[in-house]
Symmetry: C2
Subunit: 546 residues, 2 copies
């Protein structure tokens, strides 16, 4: 079959991770969007709530977007859907559980009415404009995830979102190998695939290995078992519920997102938890400790989460007690290691047993490791390979793996967000470079906070501020009142007090000279403070002449 036309592959979203939160495909000016997720800020993005992909390219072509396909229900794939739908009015396609989670998300953001949601099924196919999209089941740490086969006259692209080849998944629904083999027979022009674990040798353990680990925890626990994980790790909820039942306990859920997601997943049949296994929180707190399991959020030690508050002793509904066993069922997200470690130490300090992935297999990754990544390439046998879902270090590594198993080196293409790749005549070429960054959500503002503002915040934080208010008589040049000085985050109030006479003297020197400016005064004070304290607070001067 001869190839016709040009397909643009446009990785858009992901903080340093290519195509992680959003990828778009464009054929004959019609655009198909895959995923609309958010990222959480790194530690140096001060004051930022979360990050959405910069989809200016889509906004400018809103009328051309024919559909939005969501591969699974994790925040980094659905979290920006209400932002996107604000700018782009197109039908959304998702599997039942993913759709349910999107509905919950839209309702919480008062955006339900705008959405044209459509349910698709793994194994099915639909035509969205010029795109023939085939959905096939893949395993991940949330049920009902799909990969995509996208056919246009330009060729066939296989888009693997987050996945692992789990032979014994919790829901007993393995990855659709047959479909991957079928694609291979038809001839795959481009494979895009998840690079998260490209540095991890071997094969990611099955979700099933967690079962025995939880059974052991439940068997040994003397008091309550408190399990923290991500609210969207639906499979984990099933496993904890199974152990709860096995050991004659009842389970209760805490945290709005956890409660919501469990409700949706149970309603749609993705969680098999009998009604009588679940008790409301107030009842659970009255039961004997060894009869209770509590499932909540906070596995990353976030100070505002339930586990974070238990560790700090500030949880409202219940406190930690001696004999509690706390399980942190997740792996530290890079950047969270310190917070998690501090949380573990505090929980131990308060008398809890703490179980975490370094000492028991209470968590496994949801992403394919190197052997699985190689298997995927061998199953699909694509002509071209584009690693996505990873930082540059992971993409490079993943590309090397693909080359090792037979993709020609020139056909393994590492690109960054915003770099358009064109499939045409069965070959890949680089197209134009469009904005492919991200925008910060900070309070109510979207995209207004930039790095210059964050660098100012960092500067404020480094040594605090030193603020001087001066009023000068216009005619005599004399001070009208004593300089008013306010400091924050600089030195202790007593130490600041002790510095005042000298600061005042330095101000007088400058003011006495005549023609003084706010800048002159600030410079004089800044030098003195550095000399005296070795610190460089931000010095701000307001000078009024009356």
């Amino acid at each position: 079959m001869s190839k016709q036309g040009k397909l643009k592959i446009i990785p858009l979203g992901g903080l340093g991770e290519v195509g992680k939160n959003m990828t778009a495909y464009e054929f004959q000016n019609k655009i198909l969007v895959v995923d609309a997720g958010i990222m959480f800020p790194t530690n140096d993005m001060i004051g930022i709530d979360y990050i959405v992909p910069d989809y200016e390219y889509l906004r400018a072509r809103a009328g051309n977007v024919v559909g939005i396909v969501i591969t699974h229900g994790h925040e980094d794939h659905i979290g920006a859907i209400h932002h996107l739908l604000n700018d782009v009015s197109a039908p959304v396609y998702a599997t039942p559980l993913t759709r349910g989670l999107i509905e919950g998300k839209l309702a919480r953001n008062s955006a339900s009415t705008k959405a044209d949601l459509n349910t698709i099924e793994a194994g099915g196919m639909i035509e969205i404009g010029p795109f023939k999209v085939e959905f096939f089941h893949i395993c991940h740490s949330i049920p009902d995830s799909v990969g995509l086969g996208i056919t246009t006259p330009a060729g066939l692209v296989v888009h693997m979102s987050d996945f692992k080849f789990d032979h014994t998944p919790v829901d007993n629904w393995p990855t659709d190998y047959a479909k991957l083999a079928e694609f291979s027979r038809r001839g795959v022009d481009v494979l895009l695939s998840d690079s998260t674990n490209a540095e991890r040798p071997g094969w990611t353990p099955s979700e099933k290995v967690i079962g025995p680990a939880f059974d052991k925890v439940f068997a040994e626990a003397q008091g309550r078992v408190i399990v923290a994980t991500f609210a969207s790790l639906i499979s984990r909820v099933q496993q904890v519920a199974d152990s709860t039942k096995k050991f004659g306990r009842k389970i209760t859920f805490a945290g709005p997102s956890m409660v919501d997601n469990v409700k949706i997943a149970r309603k749609l049949g993705y969680l098999d938890i009998p009604d009588d296994l679940i008790v409301p929180m107030d009842q659970a707190l009255k039961m004997q400790d060894h009869k209770v399991a509590i499932m909540c959020t906070g596995s990353q030690g976030e100070p505002s989460s339930i586990v974070g508050r238990l560790a700090a002793g500030t949880n409202r509904l219940f406190s930690l007690k001696e004999g509690d066993t706390v399980v942190l069922s997740s792996h530290p997200i890079p950047g969270n290691e310190e917070t998690i470690s501090r949380t573990i130490n505090r929980l131990l300090h308060r008398g809890a047993e703490v179980v975490y992935d370094a000492i028991a297999p209470v968590h496994v990754s949801g992403h394919a490791s190197q052997e699985e990544q190689k298997l995927l390439v061998n199953l699909v046998r694509p002509k071209h390979f584009i690693p996505i879902h990873g930082e540059l270090r992971h993409l490079r590594r993943h590309a090397k793996l693909a080359v090792e198993v037979g993709v020609p080196e020139k056909n393994a293409v590492v690109v960054e967000n915003g770099q358009i790749v064109i499939l045409s005549g069965g070959n890949l070429t680089l197209g134009e470079r469009i904005p492919g960054g991200y925008v910060f959500v900070d309070g109510d503002s979207i995209g207004e906070t930039d790095f210059s503002i964050m660098r100012e915040r960092e500067k404020l934080a480094r040594a605090g501020i030193f603020l001087i208010d001066i009023s000068v008589d216009k005619l005599s040049g004399r001070l009208l009142h004593d300089p008013e000085i306010i400091t924050r985050g600089f030195v202790s109030p007593e130490d600041a007090e002790a510095l005042l006479p000298e600061v005042r003297a330095h101000i007088m020197d400058v003011v006495g000279s005549g023609g003084e400016s706010e800048k002159d005064i600030a410079n004089a004070v800044r030098s003195y403070l550095y000399e005296e304290t070795g610190r460089r607070p931000m010095v701000l001067v307001t000078l009024s002449k009356a």
Copy 2:
């Protein structure tokens, strides 16, 4: 032999890590200090340069301190020596290399004259007041490290500082097993030991495994090889020099601490690098790329280090070029993961090959893993066990390991810094609790910055500041001039400009009401800003009435 008197064991230093930077022993009012190191701040300790142990207990008893023994030359064991010697004038004992590094440290801090430095040798014994101290060689990632056998009439304590049981260390000098066995024969009352890797199963690989990894890097590198590691990882320097020689390159060192340490270690015979292997930097930069190796600091991606600056494109002496191979020969220190990952991505982006511990064995830990920790307990067979050098999570784990290999559960004692443990009559009891925290070094100040100042800095950083200066006519209550407004780290200058008319109106409302205070004005503006932007900057008001 009957036990007499009371020995106080006093873990003092380490940020969350017990006894890491400093431990003291007290017998009949005479005090022996072991180590005097610093820690680096965690990400939430904003503006802090480094941290020293709170040794108020020693300061108050300065006349009773009979000696300071340093186990090895790493910063977290020697870094606070000039602070301690400022307050406590006692002789310092160290092995030749450790002494050399201490001398360098004191010289850099203009504190050389104060110090009474004494050289000791592994295998030797000296009496320091009532303490008979036996030094024995242990392997670690720096040569000339020692463990201590401390004998007093109260009994024998074995103090294991950072160590691993490396059968093939780079300097061919294995741990002194015979001495450990001898202690065991004599009967050890208490063993204190390094818990760093208590969560790591198995046996830490020998430093020797790094040799072939570096040989591979050198064999494959087309251009320059740039190796980053800690300046104090003297063994690593030897290994890189060996590969340099083997592959016909010349080596040059960059970074003052790296240059200093290499000089000291060569002079004392702890580095075997022929003169003609080393070239000065300016010469190295003129040589052909495949003839050069550069060794420098910055393996943790610190922005101010050489590798940090190479990644950012701001290094003064030389820049990265296509074809360079950069080796990061260290493991991320918890909290540095994000910075390191960003550095790797940037180096790749600039065209370098990057080799790091996730993809090649270019680093191994310097600390014993679980099997080594168990071996130590079995070799020494102590009556009591106190895990040190680790956070609570590691200490608990280490205590469990000791119990698994035979220490009675009640004799494995987990304590925190400042908790005195008393050895008396062959038994351990808990003594008083003294200050065991840490003090922050921030600019020139030691111990003046506290958490309240850091929380203010955090608050300043979260959404910036909004500063208003108002002058009001004392009689009429009218504004004397337009309010002056300064913002930093809040919104962009243009957005701030747009908010001004409304802010002014809100100020006028309050000022018009009469009896207005700075607090009233700040509250009104704060509410308006939150309503308008969803952010809560710190609002500061200076109000003068004239």
